[in-house]
C-alpha cells in the first residue's frame, strides 16, 4: 500500500484537529477561574465542585442514569426475545415485514418520534414525566437491540439446536443454555448501544418530558439557552470521560461479537 503523501497527512491532521478542538476547548475552560469561555484566568476546580454540590443537578443526573439503565435493560429483554422470534418466523414475507417495521424508528428523525409519542401519551393518558420518558426510551431502544442481536442469531448453526433437542433438552433449556450463551456478545453490544442512546437522547425526551421531570440533556439545553455557564463545561468534561468509557466498552463487545461497529445511527 502506498504511503500517505504529505498533503494527505496534513489534511487528516487538520480534520482531527477540527473534530477534537471544540471538545478540548470545553474541557480546558472547565478549569477556568474566570467565568467565561474566552479568557483563561487561573486554574480552579470550583466548577466541578459546583456540579457535585448542586443537589438539583445530582438528582437530574440520577434520573438520567436510572432511565438509561432501566430502559436499556427492559429494551434488551424485549429486543432479544423479539429477535429470537423473528429468526424462527417461518414465513419469509412476514419476517421481512417485521424487519421493515423494526427499522422505522431507527430511521425516523427524533422530532417525529418525539412529536408522535407526545400525541400517543396524551391520547392514552400517560402523565408526562418519568413514566413517559422511560417508555419512550424503551421504545426507541428496542429496534437497536434487535439489530445488534439478529446477525449473531443468523450465524448460529441450526444443528446446535438440533443437537440439544436430540440430547433431550427442553425448549427452555435450549433458550437459556444454547441460544442465549451463543448470542451473548450481541446482547451486550445491544445493551451498551441502548444505554448510550438513552444517555445521549435529547430531542425525544424534550417532547415527552413534562415540567417536573428533567434529564441531563434537557437541563444542559436550558442552561445553554441561557448563555455560558462553566458548570456545563465541567459537566461536559465528566460526560466526555463517561462516553469514552462506554464507547470503548461497546467496541470491546462488538469486537468480540465479530461485528463491524455501527455509526450509532443518525441519532444526533
Amino acid at each position: 500500500m502506498a504511503k500517505l503523501s504529505k498533503p494527505a497527512k496534513i489534511y487528516l491532521a487538520l480534520v482531527f484537529a477540527i473534530l477534537y478542538a471544540p471538545i478540548f476547548y470545553l474541557i480546558f475552560y472547565s478549569f477556568n477561574s474566570g467565568g467565561t469561555m474566552s479568557s483563561f484566568e487561573g486554574f480552579t476546580l470550583e466548577h466541578y465542585a459546583a456540579v457535585f454540590n448542586d443537589t438539583r443537578l445530582l438528582i437530574i443526573l440520577m434520573n438520567t442514569v436510572i432511565v438509561a439503565l432501566l430502559s436499556s435493560l427492559i429494551s434488551t429483554a424485549i429486543g432479544v426475545l423479539g429477535a429470537i422470534g423473528i429468526v424462527f418466523l417461518r414465513n419469509r414475507k412476514t419476517r421481512n415485514a417485521v424487519l421493515s417495521l423494526n427499522t422505522i424508528l431507527i430511521v425516523s428523525p427524533d422530532v417525529i418520534i418525539g412529536a408522535s409519542f407526545l400525541i400517543l401519551f396524551t391520547m392514552i393518558g400517560v402523565k408526562l414525566g418519568f413514566a413517559s420518558v422511560l417508555i419512550s426510551h424503551i421504545a426507541f431502544s428496542i429496534p437497536i437491540v434487535v439489530i445488534m442481536v439478529l446477525p449473531k442469531l443468523q450465524e448460529m448453526s441450526h444443528s446446535l439446536i438440533d443437537a440439544a433437542t436430540d440430547l433431550g433438552a427442553s425448549k427452555r433449556d435450549i433458550l437459556t443454555r444454547v441460544i442465549i450463551p451463543y448470542i451473548k456478545p450481541g446482547i451486550f453490544a445491544g445493551f451498551f448501544l441502548a444505554l448510550t442512546y438513552s444517555l445521549d437522547d435529547f430531542a425525544v425526551t424534550f417532547f415527552v418530558t413534562g415540567n417536573g421531570f428533567s434529564t441531563l440533556s434537557i437541563e444542559i439545553y436550558s442552561m445553554a439557552r441561557a448563555g455560558i455557564t462553566l458548570t456545563i463545561n465541567a459537566l461536559s468534561a465528566l460526560i466526555f470521560a463517561v462516553t469514552l468509557g462506554l464507547v470503548l466498552g461497546y467496541y470491546f463487545f462488538t469486537q468480540r461479537a465479530g461485528q463491524s461497529p455501527g455509526t450509532g445511527g443518525a441519532k444526533v
Binding site: 426475545l81 423479539g82 417532547f207 445553554a224
Partner: protein
C-alpha cells in the same frame, strides 16, 4: 429453520411494541394532520402548508440541508479515502467516530463559546486584522456547526465502502495504463458510491429535522422543518399543523431513502434474503 416450531410467545412483547410505538404513532400523526386547533376535521393544514410561508420555509430547509450535505461530502470523502491508507486504520476510524458519540448539545454549546463575540474565532480574526464579527446566530455558523457534527456520519460509510474495494482492481487499472485520476473516476468512485449514498441518508434527513442546532447556534435566523415541527408542537401548541409538517418530513424522508436506496444493502442486519 424449517422444522422448528415457531415460537410466537417470544414475539408477544415485541409485537405489542410494534403496534403501540411504531404503527400507532404514525397513524396518530396522520390523523392529527387533519385536525384544526379545536379538534375538528379540516384540510386547512395542508392548504396552509402550500402557502408561501411554509413553502419558502421548506425550500430554505432543503437548501441548507443540501449545502450541509455537499460540504460534508467534500470534507469527508478525502478523509475517508486517506484513512483507508493509514497503517492502523481501524484505530484512526474509531478516533473519527468518538466525537459523534459526544452529546450534540455539548458540541453546539462549545460553538456558542467559540463563535462568541470574544471567543477564539473572533480573536483569530482580530489578529488577522478583521474586526470582531457577529458569527453566532448567522446562517454561516449554522452550516459550519452542522457540517462539524455530521462529518463522522459521512466518513464512516464512505470509509467502509472504500475499504471493501479489492486492491487488485486498482492495480489492474494502473497496469492497463490508467492515470490515478482515471482510476479514481472509473474504478474507485463507482465502487464506493454506495458509501456516499448511505452517508447522504445519514446526513440529509437529520439536516432537515434537527432543531437543536438552529435553536442554539442560528438563533431564529434559520428555520428547518424540524424547528417548525418543534415550534408547532411545543410553542404554538398547534398539533394539527405540526403533524402536517411532520407528514411532509416523513414523505421527504421516504423519497430520499428511495433515491439513495441500494439493491444490496451494506448493513449487516439486512441479510437473510438469499
Amino acid at each position: 429453520m424449517k422444522d422448528n416450531p415457531s415460537r410466537p410467545f417470544y414475539l408477544v412483547p415485541y409485537y405489542l411494541w410494534i403496534a403501540l410505538f411504531v404503527i400507532a404513532p404514525i397513524t396518530l400523526i396522520f390523523y392529527f394532520s387533519f385536525l384544526d386547533l379545536t379538534g375538528a376535521f379540516t384540510l386547512e393544514n395542508y392548504q396552509n402548508f402550500f402557502s408561501s410561508v411554509y413553502l419558502r420555509m421548506t425550500l430554505s430547509s432543503f437548501w441548507y440541508a443540501f449545502l450541509i450535505t455537499l460540504i460534508t461530502i467534500l470534507i469527508a470523502y478525502p478523509t475517508a479515502y486517506w484513512l483507508t491508507k493509514t497503517k492502523h486504520k481501524q484505530l484512526w476510524l474509531l478516533l473519527i467516530i468518538i466525537p459523534s458519540w459526544i452529546n450534540l448539545l455539548l458540541k453546539a454549546y462549545a460553538f456558542i463559546g467559540i463563535f462568541g463575540l470574544y471567543g477564539p474565532a473572533n480573536k483569530l480574526l482580530q489578529t488577522l486584522g478583521a474586526g470582531p464579527w457577529q458569527i453566532l446566530f448567522t446562517d454561516f455558523s449554522f452550516i459550519f456547526v452542522s457540517v462539524y457534527i455530521f462529518i463522522p456520519f459521512m466518513v464512516l460509510p464512505i470509509f467502509n465502502s472504500l475499504d471493501k474495494i479489492n486492491p487488485a482492481l486498482i492495480d489492474a487499472s494502473r497496469d492497463l495504463g490508467a492515470s490515478s485520476f482515471t482510476t479514481f473516476r472509473r474504478v474507485i468512485f463507482p465502487l464506493a458510491i454506495n458509501g456516499v449514498k448511505s452517508g447522504v441518508q445519514a446526513v440529509f434527513i437529520p439536516a432537515l429535522s434537527l432543531f437543536v442546532i438552529t435553536r442554539l447556534i442560528a438563533g431564529n435566523k434559520v428555520i428547518t422543518l424540524g424547528t417548525a415541527i418543534e415550534q408547532q408542537f411545543l410553542v404554538t401548541q398547534n398539533w394539527g399543523m405540526g403533524s402536517t409538517i411532520a407528514m411532509f418530513l416523513i414523505l421527504f424522508m421516504i423519497i430520499i431513502m428511495m433515491l439513495t436506496g441500494q439493491k444490496e444493502k451494506g448493513g449487516s442486519y439486512n441479510g437473510k434474503t438469499k
